[in-house]
């Protein structure tokens, strides 16, 4: 189920809220939330829920095993390996199995290829969450959860189940046992949810329609320079508003139910460096890789060469996490190289001496190029679009100059001429600045009035919108 679906908005959410707030005891509330979360996941994929249950079940046992073998380090390691393997094996099989086999077959010129498996929704997110639980228990950062239903609730809690943010167990362990839902938390959470819904329906979906129009069905078309740039720009807006919208809705829903989730986005498109961009973009994923991969690898504590290696491993894995496809690996490696260059070739201090007005567009440009790689799972098409952006048309017949514009691109640009300006403005931290400048009750009144209008508009737009998938669902 998706947050921006009629079923969710008109039935699932109101009924869940009603049942949840009818009971004050945490056991009941957890029970209702758990049943709702399982239904939320099963809606459309009832069988694949078994994978999540198995993964949680094995890790529940393993974490208890880790805790009970406190004095036997080897035994703890074995429990950890069993738990981690049980989670990762599903991810590897469903997400990467076909990719690895087919890539190996291509490399060895074998004809045997396997078909890709249907990817269980949200498997990348919940696998990482289960992993953080077992690892946190192993590290002594959290106590093993004695109640399997609470552990299952941590993993399956519907606000963050499918597309994050990736919630680390240690951050919510206490909230699973006791939390309070207040009227203020309810209204603030609802407002955040409405804003997220509006970002998705009123901005991301419209940007997505423009992107679809510019990447027509006859997808090997050599794009004009204008079409290639506009498609890249609109996708840059779409992916930000799409994913940050989901995070907003997740955080808002969490707040309604008494959970406090960490922020996942912090206006990434105002970043003055690539590393800053990644401190502002998908923060929970960055934190996961930092805490569970980069630091265990040695982080930056070794030689420069070792740090570079660690960075490249982490960024390649970050790319791979997004999908079993070469474009994602390349996209991750691209960021790895940029961060290495920023840190070791240019040097952070030297980079920061460059005026922000110069750094900002440079970082944005690098980001837009990155999104082109990210968009095309067919690497050749990504390269073609990047070439078109550089004015070069790559065709099977050879290399020619790309045309500057084409009628379709012009039509799309004119149709979406005002709209991207609004979207770009919404990428800036105007709301926080406004709230800082005009704090007070009336600001709150205005914000709730605006949220009400946005919610209404979102519902109206949802009725006629056929373009509604969340991009991050496929990860």
């Amino acid at each position: 189920m998706v947050f921006s679906s009629m079923t969710f908005l008109m039935f699932f959410l109101p009924i869940t809220l009603l049942l949840y707030f009818l009971n004050e005891r945490i056991r009941w509330r957890n029970g209702i939330l758990l049943v709702a979360s399982l239904l939320f996941y099963a809606w459309g994929e009832p069988v694949l829920i078994l994978l999540m249950l198995v993964s949680v079940g094995v890790n529940y046992v393993c974490a208890l095993g880790i805790e009970r073998s406190a004095s036997a380090k080897t035994m703890q390691k074995i429990w950890l390996i069993v738990g981690a393997s049980a989670s990762m094996i599903f991810l590897l099989y469903f997400k990467y199995g076909a990719f690895f086999v087919n890539s190996a077959a291509d490399l060895l010129s074998l004809s045997a290829h396997v078909a890709e498996k249907k990817l269980p929704i949200g498997i990348s997110f919940y696998t990482f969450q289960v992993l953080t639980y077992t690892v946190d228990v192993y590290r002594g950062k959290a106590k093993a959860q004695k109640n399997p239903a609470r552990l299952l609730l941590y993993v399956s809690c519907f606000p963050q189940l499918i597309a994050g943010p990736i919630v680390q167990y240690a951050d919510v362990a206490d909230m699973l046992n006791a939390r309070s839902s207040t009227p203020v938390g309810f209204s603030e959470g609802a407002r955040r949810f409405a804003v997220g819904l509006a970002k998705k329906v009123l901005i991301a979906n419209i940007c997505g329609a423009a992107v679809e129009a510019l990447h027509p069905a006859d997808s090997a078309v050599t794009m004009s320079v204008l079409g290639a740039w506009y498609a890249a720009g609109m996708y840059t807006l779409q992916i930000y508003f799409d994913f940050s919208a989901y995070s907003d809705m997740a955080i808002g829903l969490g707040k309604i139910f008494g959970f406090t989730y960490k922020e996942n986005f912090n206006y990434p498109y105002i970043s003055g460096s690539v590393s800053e961009f990644w401190r502002r973009w998908h923060i929970s994923l960055g934190s996961f890789f930092r805490d569970y991969v980069y630091i265990p690898l040695g982080g930056n504590r070794g030689t420069a060469a070792r740090t570079v290696l660690n960075l490249m491993i982490v960024w390649s894995l970050t790319g791979m996490w997004h999908g079993a496809s070469w474009n994602f690996i390349l996209w991750g490696a691209y960021y790895g190289l940029l961060i290495v260059a920023e840190r070791f070739v240019i040097g952070r201090k030297r980079w920061e001496r460059i005026p922000y007005a110069v750094r900002l567009p440079l970082v944005l440009l690098l980001t837009v190029w990155g999104w082109v790689l990210f968009y095309h799972t067919n690497l050749l098409l990504g390269i073609r679009q990047l070439s078109a952006m550089a004015g070069i048309a790559l065709t099977e017949q050879g290399v020619t100059l790309a045309t500057l514009s084409d009628p379709l691109a012009l039509a799309v640009v004119r149709k979406y001429s005002v709209f991207p300006l609004i979207a770009m403005t919404a990428c800036l931290p105007i709301v926080p600045l406004f709230r800082k400048r005009f704090s007070g009750q009336w600001t709150e009144v205005v914000s709730y009035a605006a949220a009400t209008v946005l919610l209404l508009l979102s519902l109206i737009f949802l009725i006629g919108q056929s373009y509604n998938p969340f991009i991050y669902f496929r990860f």
Binding site: G44, D218, K415, I422, G464
Partner: protein, 436 residues
């Protein structure tokens, strides 16, 4: 504190209101078939919950579509959202036309390609590719050996490729057509027609300001070489070309489909090539309808034929459950007026003629304005659309092969637009998957 309570009550009302709207929609929506003339489609009825539909995810998709299709005041709300969107753009009527038609074409591709039952098909990018490049005459002569092309001809004598058709795709479609031909009696034929959706021509030709002089396609030549004599392939692009170049309107402007005149030209060619005389267009009585205006107020007019003989139109469910529906919906303002729309899974037109022959038309919405012309030549004309969004063997209760033999079909017409054509899963896979 009071204000905080006020915010709480306000936000609670948000959820309460959505629940009320959802409840009203769910409980008070009629189970009768509803048609959106604005969107040219049949709206989703309340889905039936079964384990298989729930397990496959079909129920959840249908339920969500049902809710958004059934919201009270839906058309009004869609108008509002369109007006808001329109106010944020500086597009011209021509832009809207480009956008709308290209999106519709893309939707067709998405629908036809999104067939989860199909794996291991050829690379779509290589299949549906289009590129602006110059093809030499020697390249043009390569057909059958590897690739067929649909080109737009430039005034300077060079060509722009609009579509490429790899040989493996053509061979696969040819094989599929042969399987259908094998089910027909000795004098039966498969007629293969793939009309171009208007955007293909419009985007590249009609609006090019004289940059192009015409077009040509080598697809039909290839297909004729790859298929037996029982299969007749028609080059619709070539048939329609002189008429379009003469300035005739053969496509709707508010939709991506051909109009009745475009359909008639192709029908006439097919019938003439069989040594028969096409019924003259002016023998038909018709009523002229207007299409629903688009966002800019533009509309098409289209003649809606009256049958030459008393005819019946029946929807067939589960092999033999028949339900009569109107032959034409004269009150309708879209292409769905023809044959009462593309309703599934199977249709039978009892034509009122006695010719001793029966035909089956397998096609998308392009068949709607084409099929009525076939009626004087057959006792019965059956129709179906095998795209997965319309057709499931389970719904029909049997296979296409069984229906073809059970109904003693003599001729089969395959009428799928380019978007659902040789490079789509419709003809590459669904045609084969649904046969047996």
């Amino acid at each position: 504190m009071k204000r905080n309570n006020g915010f709480f009550i306000l936000t609670m009302w948000w959820f309460l209101l959505t629940a009320v709207i959802g409840g009203l929609t769910f409980f008070f929506t009629s189970d009768k078939e509803r048609i959106s003339q604005r969107e040219n489609r049949i709206l989703q009825n309340r889905p039936v919950l079964t384990w298989s539909s729930f397990q496959s995810g079909e129920f959840s998709d249908q339920f969500d579509t049902f809710l958004s299709d059934s919201i009270p005041g839906r058309d009004f709300l869609i108008d509002i959202s369109n007006k808001i969107l329109g106010s944020f753009s500086v597009n011209t009527a021509e832009d809207l036309y480009y956008m709308d038609t290209s999106q519709k074409e893309a939707e067709d591709f998405v629908r036809s390609d999104d067939d989860s039952t199909v794996t291991g098909t050829s690379d779509k990018d290589a299949v549906t590719g289009s590129q602006t490049t110059t093809i030499s005459d020697s390249d043009a002569a390569r057909f059958v050996d590897d690739t067929a092309y649909f080109w737009l001809l430039k005034n300077d004598g060079t060509k722009d490729t609009v579509y490429r058709y790899p040989k493996e795709n053509m061979m696969r479609v040819a094989d599929n057509l042969e399987k259908y031909a094998a089910l027909l009696p000795e004098d039966g034929n498969v007629f293969f027609v793939t009309p171009p959706p208007f955007p293909t021509l419009a985007r590249r030709f009609s609006q090019s300001g004289g940059y192009y002089s015409g077009w040509e396609s080598t697809l039909t030549d290839n297909m004729n070489v790859l298929t037996s004599d029982k299969i007749k392939c028609y080059n619709t692009l070539q048939i329609l070309q002189p008429h379009i170049l003469d300035g005739e309107d053969l496509f709707l402007y508010t939709d991506h489909q051909w109009n009745i005149h475009g359909a008639y030209y192709v029908f006439s060619e097919i019938i003439s090539s069989q040594g028969l005389s096409p019924t003259p267009f002016d023998e038909y009585d018709y009523r002229v309808n207007k299409t629903t205006p688009d966002a800019e107020g533009h509309y098409d007019t289209f003649p809606l034929l009256y049958s030459l003989a008393p005819a019946k139109n029946m929807v067939v469910q589960q092999v033999d459950q028949k339900k009569e529906i109107p032959l034409m919906r004269y009150e309708m303002t879209s292409n769905l007026a023809f044959l009462s729309g593309n309703r599934t899974p199977w249709r039978i037109l009892q034509t009122g003629f006695n010719t001793g022959r029966r035909a089956l038309v397998i096609g998308d919405c392009f068949n709607l304005s084409f099929t009525p012309f076939l009626m004087p030549y057959y006792d019965e004309v059956h129709t179906t659309d095998i795209r997965y969004i319309y057709f499931r063997k389970e719904q029909l209760g049997t296979t296409l092969a069984d229906m073809i033999t059970r109904n003693s079909i003599d001729d089969i017409y395959i009428v799928y637009s380019e978007a659902n054509g040789v490079d789509s899963q419709t003809l590459l896979s669904a045609l084969d998957n649904n046969l047996n």
